[in-house]
């Protein structure tokens, strides 16, 4: 039983990690808490759902379309809203994204009603692996593996490529980066676009086993905030390990103390870890 719990904790942890990776990028590079991130998840789940139910494209095959759509939405968020508040006081910038999240969420409710929708017949649905008494659903497994691959890909991109280095430089010091000839405006836009695309992949993968409704993203975003702070702002490694810690403590704590306490446990873990490492696990 305990192994089953640990495995499901790791699976959720990896998905949380991907959600947090997108969030930590914008947070680290632009120093903005993006409250719209949960809505990116929600929108990508709807895109995935509609492609499935209207055109019969399987959520796994439609991922590239979802990525492109979310890349564009992420970029537009920056160029229409965030760009205009980047030099404003931190709380004003935060409220701009908060207002935008209200618009997105209620737009979804306006267009598609608050009812939950499900993708029931994807190629993964209902299939599972059983090893002894341990059962793992295909959709969950695919989401976990997909998340891990994407987190690594983003990490590689940021650490090893030239564009990634320019993002890092901008995060460290915007003005110096500008002096070095980096187009910081473009870096900001790109960061938001990548963040949106990362949320898009997470949403697309989630849509195979999680209900799609206007508020689908809220809880994930909230947990994402905690993971980002737990790992250290702007740190992808922190997002991955933070995600795993939170996923595992949610699963194990929920099992031993009762599922009604699983979210309280997540927040408590954050408060405890942050006492020992006040800048997050990998922050400096």
């Amino acid at each position: 039983m305990i192994i089953q719990i640990i495995i499901s904790g790791i699976i959720m942890g990896l998905i949380y990690g991907l959600v947090a990776t997108g969030l930590t990028l914008t947070w680290g590079v632009l120093d903005i808490i993006n409250f719209t991130h949960g809505e990116y998840l929600m929108i990508s789940m709807y895109v995935s759902f509609w492609l499935y139910s209207l055109m019969n494209i399987d959520p796994l095959l439609s991922l590239p379309i979802v990525i492109i759509v979310m890349f564009i939405i992420g970029y537009l968020t920056y160029s229409i809203v965030v760009k205009n508040v980047i030099n404003a006081p931190a709380l004003s910038a935060l409220l701009a994204t908060f207002g935008l999240s209200l618009v997105f969420r209620n737009m979804a409710q306006f267009l598609w009603t608050p009812n939950a929708r499900f993708i029931t017949n994807s190629v993964l649905s209902g299939k599972k692996i059983s090893i002894g008494s341990i059962i793992i659903g295909y959709p969950q497994l695919a989401a976990a593996i997909g998340s891990l691959v994407v987190i690594y890909a983003i990490y590689y991109f940021i650490e090893k490529t030239k564009v990634g280095k320019s993002i890092q430089a901008t995060a460290l010091d915007k003005n110096t980066a500008k002096l070095m000839g980096i187009n910081t405006e473009r870096v900001f836009g790109l960061t938001f676009a990548i963040s949106g695309a990362a949320a898009g992949i997470a949403g697309g993968l989630l849509s195979t086993f999680y209900p799609v409704y206007p508020e689908s993203g809220i809880l994930y975003a909230l947990i994402g905030f905690v993971i980002v702070a737990l790992g250290g702002f702007g740190n992808i490694k922190g997002a991955l390990y933070g995600g795993l810690i939170i996923g595992l403590s949610e699963a194990i704590g929920g099992y031993y103390l009762g599922t009604q306490f699983k979210y309280a446990i997540i927040f408590l873990i954050y408060l405890i870890v942050i006492q020992i490492k006040p800048k997050g696990l990998f922050g400096w």
């Binding site: 808490i33 205009n84 508040v85 701009a96 908060f98 207002g99 209200l102 306006f110 979210y263």
Partner: protein, 336 residues
């Protein structure tokens, strides 16, 4: 030194009088309900402003104190027949104690890390109350019906004006407190801490202690407003009084109005509360969320065009008028 409008006592008095007079003149229950909400949120904004606007410590968890106030007075009335006035005070004191307990570890953190810690504390409170059977968990509590009048803070049938007097009184208390804090030695210390905590420390300000004082004052005021809210709506459950949405609403109102400014929360609430109430009345009936689309879009627009809050607009206007007067009086030559 030239007096700015923010510490002009006469001006504050006039504003408060207008706010008091409005629902007495306009005898419409719907309008009075909106005025009650307006004053209630303005009071919450003033309280939050002390820790975030003055001391620079962003709290995303003020719903915790609000809920503690609401639950304390309600449980005391329901189980022990203690009048809500006393319940309100006890609720405020408990909120202060909780503020001390959570602030001690939280003040080690800075910036976003602190903000997320307060968010976590708020969410933990919500979860605890949802599973706490003594206070009926997620089911919530219906307030028992007591005799009419100010003693039990109950007025049947709905006499909105009496409720209004009470919440207005609480609002005035928060405004006066914010004024005193802002213009006292403590206010200047808090400003120094906000600008540069290290420098403040180095000139001998006990940074942690003053941040704690600010948090205690803020928590107490938030809790007493919470007690009133429970009395007014006569039914509470954890999702009503502890949600993150409430904490965010307080942030929203104050920042849109003007952070760290005594008029900020008043202005923010005066615009956002009627706006959200009337859009809900006009567009909300469809249940499609059109009201919140409009609300959200306006929030985005205001933050883009007035990032320092709406107070900035009014201050500029005030300065222009002053300047014109000075020119007319011959004290100042028109150089423009």
């Amino acid at each position: 030194m030239e007096k700015s409008i923010t510490n002009n006592k006469k001006m504050i008095g006039v504003v408060l009088l207008i706010i008091l007079a409005l629902p007495i003149i306009v005898q419409d229950n719907n309008f009075r309900h909106i005025m009650i909400l307006f004053v209630l949120y303005a009071a919450l904004g003033e309280a939050w402003n002390i820790i975030t606007g003055y001391a620079g410590q962003t709290s995303f968890g003020h719903a915790a104190f609000f809920g503690i106030g609401a639950y304390t007075s309600t449980v005391l009335l329901w189980k022990f027949d203690i009048i809500p006035w006393i319940g309100m005070l006890i609720g405020g004191i408990i909120a202060v104690v909780v503020a001390i307990i959570v602030s001690y570890p939280a003040f080690k953190l800075t910036g976003h890390y602190f903000a997320i810690a307060t968010l976590a504390i708020g969410e933990i409170m919500l979860q605890l109350f949802v599973s706490w059977e003594y206070v009926e968990g997620a089911t919530g509590i219906m307030l028992p019906i007591k005799e009419n009048g100010y003693k039990y803070m109950q007025f049947h049938p709905m006499n909105k004006l009496s409720y209004y007097y009470i919440v207005f009184g609480l609002f005035v208390i928060t405004v006066i407190t914010a004024y005193i804090v802002g213009n006292s030695k403590m206010g200047f210390y808090l400003k120094a801490i906000k600008e540069n905590p290290d420098a403040a420390q180095s000139i001998g300000i006990n940074v942690t202690r003053y941040k704690l004082y600010a948090m205690m004052v803020s928590a107490f005021l938030t809790a007493i407003v919470g007690s009133f809210y429970a009395q007014y709506v006569t039914y509470i459950d954890p999702f009503m009084v502890f949600p993150l949405a409430l904490s965010m609403q307080i942030v929203l109102i104050t920042v849109i109005g003007g952070l760290g400014n005594i008029y900020g929360p008043i202005l923010g609430a005066a615009i956002l509360i009627p706006l959200s109430q009337y859009t809900r009345i006009i567009f909300g009936g469809t249940g499609k969320g059109l009201d919140l689309i409009i609300f959200g879009a306006l929030v985005v627009i205001v933050t883009i065009f007035q990032p320092n809050g709406l107070v900035g607009l009014f201050e500029n206007l005030f300065k222009k008028i002053k300047k014109k007067e000075a020119i007319n009086d011959g004290k100042l030559h028109d150089v423009s």
